[in-house]
Subunit: 129 residues, 2 copies
DNA sequence: TAAATTGTACTAATTGATATAATACAATCA
DNA sequence: TGATTGTATTATATCAATTAGTACAATTTA
């Protein structure tokens, strides 16, 4: 199960995207393991106080990208998605590269950026170092 | 003047936002200096082949944020915006910080990230190191 | 077998952002 | 005076996001 989080209605990020990212992050962090059952569409919709269609949209995107699989009457489950996660890391690196060059073009000093990197990787994140 | 660039219609980034970012980057890089005249709303609209309202929206946003100033009958000009640029750098750092922690949570190795930083700052960008 | 659960599909409707189009106005410049 | 310029307005069109309601088929549960 899991997926106990809050929706940010002030964010410009669509609700279905927030759900997508949250579930994906929980899988990536190992908080959700392969074959583990996710909250049902209606459950999560009730918990978050939103429309089941919105949850369904997030789940369908996750399934399209190979992170979960679903079956009518059964529910949705975490897939074996190590390869997909590897691809995600690559795309994340490309995204980071773009942002780094933007920061550089704006005149952000390299030392400031390196300090950020050190901080992010020393403070340690949500475990699983 | 300046602002000779191409609009990316395939991008999910709105046109007015692309104009905003382009002008802001040219100011940040010193390609446009304080008190320098920008292309007029109609000029830039003609050059880019878009509606003047779209250019106007970008310019109005730039003015609201203190990067340029406009006057009817005169035109639009680069403002003294060193403080605004300093604030922009801070926000860029915060944005970068968020992305770095996301990458970390996804399991991207620190060394991979540090390589990106080195590459971005060694290859050198659009001059003004 | 019957009833409840579940993912999915579909239509309709609303809202907001984006963009174009066509004017119009007031201030400025030549 | 006449052209230029930023700005404002109104109307229109498109698209994404979301809600709402309903329904269906497969599965599980009792």
């Amino acid at each position: 199960m899991l997926s106990t989080f809050q929706i940010n209605y002030r964010s410009d990020e669509p609700i279905y995207q927030q759900i997508y990212n949250e579930v994906l992050m929980e899988i990536s962090l190992g908080l959700l393991l392969p074959q583990e059952k996710l909250a049902t569409v209606r459950e999560l919709a009730m918990t978050l106080g939103i429309n089941p269609n919105t949850v369904s949209k997030a789940y369908q995107l996750l399934e399209q990208n190979g992170y979960i699989y679903s079956a009518v009457g059964k529910g949705s489950f975490v897939a074996d998605c190590s390869e997909q996660l590897a691809g995600l890391k690559e795309r994340t690196l490309r995204h980071l590269d773009k942002d780094l060059r933007t920061a550089r073009d704006l005149g952000v000093p390299a030392e400031d950026v390196r300090s950020l990197v050190d901080a992010a990787y020393n403070e340690g994140g949500k475990s699983n170092a």
